[in-house]
Amino acid sequence: MPEPESIDRICPALEHEYSDLWWEQPHAVLVELARGRSRGRIVAISEEDIENLIEDFTAVLLPRWEEAARLETLQREVALLKGRCAVLERLSPILVPIKSLAPEPYEVVKPLHAVVRYQNEQYIASFFDANLSASGDTQVEAVLNLKDIIAGTFEILTTLQESELGPGPLQQRKVLEEFVQKKA
């Protein structure tokens, strides 16, 4: 078993050998020193030496760690804001003008507007004046479905007598007749 070398003799050598590693991976150097070894050599190192080394590393690395922590916090906050924006975009209702019911044989004589909102993981498009709504997995699908419902409801309600309609459907028919008519 070789005799341990003195820290006085070994430290300048360590500093030289580890100069890059000290600043890049101080923890690895500390671990190695704490094990009492240096590149295969056995070294005698005191607690005071280790404390001094830790102080040196801390002085250099603390600002870097603080900067890294600030960056990480900012990244987390940006990700959080992005998520919130996405939720707000989904939750905010949008107004979609409907100018055609093609390919159904009906035409829109007065522009009507659908309100599309996100609810329970699906989109609901509504033409509130006529109390007509339709669901869809996307905004586009919900609007297309609403157009189908408008055409279908108009088709059915206009074939019935007014006396066959209760207050709700009668109101629907009156509103629809204001906005929709059969193509000539």
Binding site: E121, N145, G168
Partner: protein, 91 residues
């Protein structure tokens, strides 16, 4: 997750004894009659997926989503529903 799935929508159709008008488009239309008059209508999406969302139905049958779900799941009867829409002046 939709409050009213296709499965529950079909339960509402059954419960309200609605007449379903088959169409070529992506929906069939259910008509609910009371005392010889159509008092409500709503679209039923085509497709075999029982989980297909139908959350548009509650407002078309003049109920809040939770009440519409109760209607589909049994506690509320057709008579209860008629009473509600009568109070709202819809029948």
């Amino acid at each position: 997750m939709a409050i009213i799935t296709k499965q529950l929508a079909m339960e509402i159709v059954r419960k309200l004894k609605a007449k379903v008008v088959k169409r070529k488009g992506p929906h069939d239309i259910a008509l609910v009659e009371h005392e010889g008059k159509i008092v409500a209508d709503f679209g039923i999406r085509r497709g075999s997926n029982k989980e297909l969302g139908h959350d548009h139905i509650p407002e078309q049958i003049f109920l809040r989503p939770s009440k519409a779900r109760l209607l589909a799941q049994c506690p509320m009867s057709r008579e209860d529903w008629v009473k509600i829409i009568t109070e709202k002046g819809k029948a």
